[in-house]
């Protein structure tokens, strides 16, 4: 059965995609929000910084490999594109680790860390730190918040599907406590990739 044309998702034309991206990157606050998201996706990626990820996402949208569905907010679109790029990069990373483990020797793309791990006899497949790095974004966020009980609860509520104003309600937090928790979460997520993104 064919889908009626009116129900097919429409994509923004290239000129409008460019205008949306210009608006994002020329607004420090909007750019900062996109970076927070990018840091989360890039955490655990050893070959790609959050800036690389943002640039790759913008390129994919501008060269037509990825479409921008009409009516979607910039951050929602970037989320989808960056998630897909990061997923593929993680898959490649896992393959490279497995290959390096099978061969018992580092590949050309191995970083100095990987080389030293292999020299110490750590297998990428069995090293918990390496496996953890290749987890999804929620796992990365869980590691970032550590054992802070309010942030753990906040993450779990988000993962359960609660949004916006529902969150302080379900967590039984007053506005001030919730605001502080939100800021703490934002800071923890911002720290995720800092050590690797700066040369």
């Amino acid at each position: 059965m064919s889908i009626p044309e009116a129900h097919l998702p429409q994509s923004l034309p290239l000129a409008q995609v460019l205008a949306e991206l210009e608006q994002l990157f020329r607004s420090p606050a909007e750019h900062a929000k996109a970076r927070k998201l990018a840091r989360l996706f890039a955490s655990g990626l050893r070959q790609m910084s959050h800036e690389d990820l943002l640039q790759e996402a913008a390129t994919a949208l501008l060269d037509g490999r990825r479409s921008w569905p009409t009516g979607f907010h910039t951050l929602a679109v970037l989320k989808g594109v960056m998630q897909s790029i990061a997923y593929n990069a993680r898959k490649k990373q896992k393959r490279d680790y497995a290959l390096a483990g099978d061969l018992g020797a580092p590949s050309d793309e191995d970083t100095e860390d990987e080389v030293s791990d292999l020299a110490e006899g750590k297998s990428p497949e069995t090293d918990p730190a390496r496996i953890a790095e290749a987890d999804d974004e929620l796992a990365a966020a869980r590691r970032a918040v550590g054992e802070d009980p309010q942030l753990v609860a906040l993450l779990e509520a988000m993962a359960a599907g609660f949004r916006g104003k529902e969150l302080p309600e379900v967590l039984d937090m007053d506005a001030k406590t919730y605001d502080a928790a939100r800021k703490r979460l934002s800071r923890r997520l911002a720290e995720l990739k800092k050590d690797r993104s700066t040369p």
Binding site: P28, E30, K33, D63, L138, M158, A159, A160
Partner: protein, 136 residues
């Protein structure tokens, strides 16, 4: 915690909620720990690099498509030429001008058809020239 939206994996639900949190964040909160001037510079650099790279990729794709179309054109030309050659041979086989083993024409490969067609055309030209010479 109860699952209020069971149709999506929890990672997706978390990311959707995070996007919503970021969208509702005010500028002061978003810029905490960031240098706005530096963000402007980095943003412009990312934008210009993405534009240049996207342009390069689009041009590459256009070139590939062009060579594909050219390839298809050549293939189409070849198919038409073989079809015309077969039709011509079929026509000639029914005439009495040449003795042609037309029974096997449909089973012949395209390359054999083209060889036979070229031979026949050469023969036609030669016999035409010979005819002209003898009348002179």
């Amino acid at each position: 915690m109860s699952n209020i939206n069971g149709d999506k994996p929890e990672n997706e639900r978390f990311l959707d909620a995070l996007v919503e949190e970021l969208r509702s964040m005010n500028d002061t909160e978003a810029l905490e720990g960031e240098d706005p001037e530096e963000l402007l510079k980095t943003g412009e650099r990312i934008l210009q690099s993405a534009k240049a790279e996207a342009g390069r990729k689009r041009r590459e794709r256009a070139k590939q498509q062009l060579s594909l179309v050219a390839g298809r054109g050549a293939q189409a030309f070849e198919t038409t030429a073989v079809a015309k050659a077969r039709a011509y041979l079929r026509e000639q086989s029914s005439s009495q001008q040449f003795t042609l083993a037309a029974r096997g024409l449909e089973e012949m490969s395209d390359s054999d058809v083209m060889v036979l067609y070229n031979q026949l055309r050469t023969l036609e030209r030669d016999s035409g020239q010979a005819g002209e010479e003898s009348t002179e």
